[in-house]
């Protein structure tokens, strides 16, 4: 139990000291994960939406595949991206390995299936209600897609948060493609893993607490935005 108390006090000490290293690691974490989620949303929401509102051969297969890809192991993604970006890999010439860009790429791959699957399932319900009306109004697929994405925007926030949760908590992929290089690619989770392997359990837990607090803040922010807009908007 002592360790938990130590962890708390470590967390507070770090926060109040405004430790520069910590701030840098934290901001890189946010930068990487938020970018990855933003890109994944841009790719995944239209894709999930299309799967929800269109009927085409192979649709069921696509649903199963994206559901299964939610279980893509980060280490595997990390290795795959490593092999692609490695100097001896096809994209080696860009020198992206061990950069934040590589970490973003890996997280995008991890988050897209989550966004696709959850968007599809969220829009399924709305589409069941809207489809006849939008068809009757002769909305094109693209127009229908925009309409359901827009009208479901508050429900879709949970999908985004689930993706963000996966990205910000993930360590296996960013460790491999980022290399956990001090002040270059070290993020919160790789720092936590490092401290844990040094036996600095209290410090590792303390960093974990800070990461969680940041998550809560991000979620509060998202939630606040929703509240604010929902009140004005039409249910």
């Amino acid at each position: 139990m002592d360790t938990f108390l130590d962890a708390l006090s470590a967390a507070f000490a770090l926060i109040f000291a405004g430790d520069a290293d910590l701030l840098q690691i934290l901001s890189l974490s946010l930068q990487v994960s938020l970018s990855a989620v933003a890109i994944a949303v841009l790719i995944g929401m239209p894709l999930g939406g299309l799967i929800a509102i269109r009927r085409f051969p192979g649709r069921q297969v696509l649903i199963v595949v994206f559901n299964a890809l939610m279980g893509l192991p980060p280490v595997v993604v990390g290795l795959g991206v490593y092999l692609l970006l490695s100097r001896s890999g096809p994209f080696g010439v860009f020198g992206l390995l061990y950069t934040p860009t590589a970490m973003i790429i890996a997280q995008v791959i991890l988050v897209v299936p989550i966004i696709v699957s959850l968007t599809r399932q969220t829009l399924d319900a709305l589409w069941r209600e809207y489809s006849e009306t939008l068809n009757s109004l002769a909305a094109s697929p693209a127009q229908s897609l925009v309409a359901v994405l827009w009208d479901a925007r508050f429900s879709l926030i949970t999908a985004v948060l689930a993706g963000l949760g996966r990205a910000i908590a993930e360590v296996g992929a960013v460790m491999i493609v980022g290399g956990n290089i001090d002040s270059v690619t070290r993020v919160m989770t790789t720092a936590i893993a490092l401290e844990a392997s040094k036996g600095e359990l209290a410090l590792a837990l303390g960093l974990g607490i800070i990461l969680l607090l940041v998550s809560v803040c991000l979620n509060l922010f998202g939630h606040g935005m929703t509240r604010l807009v929902t009140n004005e908007a039409t249910q």
Partner: protein, 255 residues
């Protein structure tokens, strides 16, 4: 933006092991090199196997690991110019301080392992083909005991890094083989203590190799070479030698 960061100032990538990273050695010596040369060193610390693989793929400029045979093969295959002996420390056998196998204070590692096997006292093996793991297997061979038969019973092959293996040993009160650097900087010992040390067969030697530009033309031979030269210079040696934790030296530079 991320890519502009990587262009900012000259840097090299160093593939190394978790044990050197975890001990804090790099944090101690690298700033001195950077100050002297203006070259930043980015350390990617993974298992010895993975570190060598990274270097083979051309994803590092310099390789710093501790398994002589693998290092020599790396050079022989043409991936490295030359292996330079850099520094050494030693392995120790740690275990619960109530010492169930009665090996405390001993200096004969194989004998201690035999005693552990006889007592069926818990032993945590890295099991990850790392330098430490390979050394442990060599010691079992010398001891004439094959622990793999007891795998899952008292012999636990964890398949994890040094720190993780130590955490496990601390969690269940087991023995394990660990390099002194990691041990001294490890902070979750619980009731683990050093039981066996000082056997010459426990010497742990690190080598440094500059990755060859013959296989990977993009390798930063100039900056990497500067780093290797600095490590082997008096300044580098001094930096290694005066890295201490609670008064104890962790690594000794080779003459």
């Amino acid at each position: 933006s991320p890519s502009s960061w990587s262009e900012e100032k000259p840097f090299i990538t160093l593939a190394s092991t978790t044990s050197t990273q975890n001990s804090g050695l790099f944090r101690h010596i690298l700033p001195r090199f950077t100050e002297a040369s203006g070259i930043e060193v980015r350390v990617v610390a993974v298992g010895t196997g993975a570190a060598i693989k990274n270097a083979r793929n051309g994803d590092a400029d310099v390789l710093l690991v501790h398994h002589k045979a693998s290092e020599q093969k790396f050079v022989a295959d043409g991936f490295g110019r030359k292996r330079h002996p850099l520094m050494f420390n030693d392995f120790i056998i740690v275990g619960p301080d109530e010492d169930p196998a009665g090996i405390g204070g001993g200096t004969n590692a194989p004998q201690a392992l035999r005693a552990i096997a006889r007592a069926k006292a818990l032993f945590v093996s890295r099991g990850d083909a790392s330098g430490t793991h390979k050394r442990e297997l060599e010691l079992w061979t010398i001891a004439g005991t094959d622990p793999s038969a007891a795998s899952g019973a008292w012999y636990r092959e964890t398949g994890s890094g040094m720190g993780a293996a130590l955490n496990i040993a601390a969690g269940i009160g087991a023995h394990t083989l660990v390099d002194r650097g990691t041990w001294l900087s490890f902070n979750n010992r619980q009731d683990l203590a050093i039981l066996v040390e000082g056997d010459p067969r426990l010497r742990n030697e690190y080598g440094v190799i500059l990755v060859s530009e013959d296989k990977h033309p993009h390798v930063k031979t100039k900056e990497g070479g500067a780093f290797v030269d600095w490590l082997l210079s008096n300044a580098g040696r001094a930096a290694i030698n005066d890295f201490k934790i609670s008064g104890q030296r962790l690594f000794t530079a080779m003459e």
